[in-house]
Amino acid sequence: MRHWIVRHLGVFRLDQPSLWLKRLFLLSNTDELTELAHLKIKSRPEPLDWLAEKLGVVDKRSVRQWLLYLFIFPPGHAARTETSLWSTLLTLSVSLINLLFLTIEWIVQAGVRTLRWLGQQLLSFLPAVDHEALGRRLEGWLETPSFRKPLLLWLLVLLSIFFFWLIVTTPFTWFGQFLFLVCLWGTALFVQRIPGNLPALILIALSVLASCRYGWWRLTQTIPLDSGWETFLAICLLLAEIYTWLVLLLGYIQNAWPLKRHTSSLPLDTSLWPSVDVFIPTYNEPLKVLEPTVLAAKGIDWPSDKLNIYILDDGRRDEFRRFAKEAGVGYIIRPDNVHAKAGNLNHALKLTHGEYVAIFDCDHLPTNSFLRSTMGWFFKDKRCAMLQTPHHFFSPDTFERNLGTFRRVPNEGALFYGLIQDGNDFWNATFFCGSCAVLRRGPLEEVGGVAVETVTEDAHTALKLHRLGYTTAYINIPLAAGLATESLSSHIGQRIRWARGMAQIFRIDNPFLGKGLSFFQRICYSNAMLHFFYGIPRLIFLTAPLTYLYFEVHIISAAAAMLAVYVLPHMLQANLANAHIQGAHRHSFWAEVYESVLAWYIILPTALAIFNPKAGKFNVTAKGGLIEHSFFDWTISKPYIVLAALNIVGLTIGLVRFFFWNTFEMGTVLLNLTWTAYNLLILGAAIGVATEARQVRVSHRVSTNLLAALHFMDGSTRMCRTEDYSMTGLGLLLDREFELPVKERVWISLWYGEVECTFPARVIASHGNKLGVQFDNLSIEQEANLVQCTFARADAWRNWSNEQDVDRPLQSFKEIAIFGFKGYRSLWRNLVKGLTRQRQLVRS
């Protein structure tokens, strides 16, 4: 057993506890993990040996091999030629499991379809209502003068509090509670269709009501207090629930009224415009990544004597210095790398003098309208110290790539940049996000430059600015874009850093303590930080039903039906309210997937940061480059696989309990079974994300429809449109079929505004009316022009999410369910594939 653990976790020194922690909770370093060779041991003939030989088990001491070869592994033909009873049996089990996957998938699909049909039938009975008109009427109603009287308002507030308390604390019978559920749900379904912010507030109120009522009931009536073990587990679950309840409430406050700021105009006289320094910090990124960013920054539409661009190279590379000279931009280096990016920025602050500082990570290309769209606010609001714009990604992130949801389902960042920042902005609590932002130099220097105490220097800097009474702003228009993290491991690494940094701030500069913040700013900051503590609660939810299914421990002491009628309104209302508020930025149930993938990995960093904010480095960001072959990331998915296995076993036991052992409390079993099944789906989706899909292109292609023209060598021309573009080539779409020889030289025209730019290129593919061309040795001016015509266009990212699907909770659930199954299927296939390879390796 010990040997097994050691081998599989890579704990090579058993007596070193830190190593255990590291191996369990952190991503392992592949080069540290050395595969132990399987040795074939000569032994006396034994019945066990015979079986092992028949099955193909090589290492007889490996329990895993026995299990796998017995139940899962299809017998290979290379090993045996005679078809024995054994092998037929084994093949059977393999195809049986495959069949099982198919059936379950089909059943779920059918179930969702009937549910949707039922819903539509129900709706068709109700009278049609013009929700748009109602929304307008509601807004008008708010404006009426009767709402302006403070006395009336206070009276209303007091009354509402009284009724709220009454509703939350009055105990109902199960039937009463059921009626409560139906009433709330009906109201919410009606209100949900009215557009606008006021209905969102009504939905929030309903949700808070339902959740508080559930919370009150849970606290007062469902804690088993008599037995020690049970009570302990129950309290764990309760704490996890309180955490989610708190985050839910804080989130509602944070997003109650998203500000949705527009751009503000600049004075007509350009001599009044301030000078701006553009900082592009870089450390180890290749020049290929930095180059377009610098060229895009150079193209920013701003008086050229007031725009200074600096490359802040912490890698101190000659190649970069040469490029800076060639491109005509500043180049700043420093002797050491203390405090990483924050230190780099602070060093540059000392050497430059612009009134404003714009910061772009080296892979974020600004559009040419960046400053024109943002700087207006600094004129309008003299206290404004920082303006943030969204981080937009034109390549799919890991989730989008591995699940195939690019530009269809809002990605993980969409919620933060689409809603939360707008919500923060209303409370004057916009966070600085490290890139794609403009800061006023004065206030920044006043707080001592970019914060260096934590690893999320950006959020901490904003906090310091807020404490001094400065304002911040957010404009939700993508004015810069970059590449998303490439692999799951780098994604996790990045999130670990955020989680750790937020936990550090929470510990050393807690937003609830200290001076200078308004109450709501405190709430916004706290929610942002608390949010990263979801690790343990999420794990508790993923395993809670198992306590009953495995050990028959009742951690909620209530009848299943009662629990159902209490918990359902809580979940339903929260879902409906969130679908209304966040629908465009986060589809229902996706939060669960995003969190489950990270939950395991952020526990230790956050916990450690709380106990010892100065401790250790956790920067495990694995810089993945191209993913040349699809592969399954076994290392990272280990925790999900373990959790999934536990849940599968639980499900099986649960079925036995349902039919044989616990027939006296079928309701309870059913509830726990449903919960487990749901957990399994979410875990499946998480496993699916670990199947890294192939990514072949060196420079990512952005699909956009732009006007282009081809100039041929014989002097004729042809108009066309682009299908996609990148720094290296274009995909073109012609009106009619057109064959061109490969390698043919052409020139391509692209436009930005009225200005036409031409680029030499060669045909690399010609097929029907489609043409692929590759640029031919562009000069640096031509590259700058190319960036201007493509990535840096003012409207390049404007309508990016227009084609996104709208959020429909059922649809979303179905999608996640399918991803869940696909995840297991992929796990299964990769298991079989991996084992075949291993067996062949051992055999040879």
Partner: protein
């Protein structure tokens, strides 16, 4: 009738080509159009598909005292063209004397033709300075000056401006670049120069140099049907849209 004179200070920059192309485009959009060749070279009709330069035209009509516009031809695209007509040295001398004596001769003649009020009249001229161009400028509501993307056109820019302010100070003068080879940096730079000096008066659609134009003339077909998706076809469409939406729209109501 919207009257547009197409002029240039340099020769061979594509006045006739633009006149013919715009006329054909207008006709395709079912807008009545008359192209008037006011250049003794008498070549405009060849750009509308006629095999050789027309014998009849406004000069012979003038000499024989026929009504102005009697010898207009209409091609299969529905474009009407009034050729200059064959001229010889002596007839030209007489004609030019008459023109010198009566600077508004063309204006008056045009006023006589009975044409729908929303129709377009495009007048091709010989290169400035010239009597013919001057008459056309006086007659026109809008003067479209053609520039080549070269140093010559840039140098001659003040001459065009001066002529216009002398002949018809009230008329609107706009510019278009023709024959642009955008793969040449020098030409792009010159275009940028034109843009910065002329600003809104320069058409945002420079007409590119394109083999499709001489090819269409050689094949006696029109450009739009020979290579509809060529860059130059796109440019001409853009130019016309710009004219109709901007400069030419202000002609509304003027008859």
């Amino acid at each position: 009738m919207f009257k547009i004179a197409i002029v240039s200070a340099a020769g061979g920059v594509g006045r006739s080509t633009l006149t013919a192309s715009l006329a054909i485009l207008l006709a395709q959009r079912e807008i009545a159009v008359l192209a008037l060749d006011f250049d003794p070279q008498n070549l405009l009709s060849t750009l509308f598909g006629s095999g050789e330069a027309s014998l009849g035209g406004l000069l012979p009509d003038f000499l024989t005292k026929k009504e102005f516009g009697k010898s207009a031809l209409v091609n299969s695209n529905g474009v009407a063209c009034l050729p200059f007509g064959r001229a010889n040295e002596t007839s030209l001398v007489t004609f030019e004397q008459h023109l010198r004596a009566e600077p508004e001769w063309l204006s008056k003649c045009i006023a006589q033709i009975d044409y729908p009020s929303e129709a377009f009249l495009l007048i091709d001229t010989s290169r400035l300075p010239s009597l013919y161009a001057r008459q056309a400028i006086v007659a026109a509501d809008l003067v479209l000056a053609v520039l080549a993307p070269d140093a010559r056109s840039l140098a001659l820019l003040p001459a065009v401006e001066a002529t216009l302010s002398r002949c018809a100070p009230g008329s609107q003068l706009i510019y278009v670049v023709n024959g642009l080879d955008s793969t040449r940096t020098l030409q792009n730079d010159l275009l940028a120069r034109f843009r910065s000096t002329l600003q809104m008066r320069l058409s945002p659609y420079p007409v590119h140099r394109d083999e499709a134009i001489p090819r269409a003339v050689a094949n006696r077909t029109n450009l739009q049907s020979l290579s509809p998706d060529s860059l130059v076809a796109h440019d001409l469409n853009g130019l016309l849209n710009w004219l109709l939406a901007g400069p030419a729209s202000s002609l509304d109501g003027k008859v």
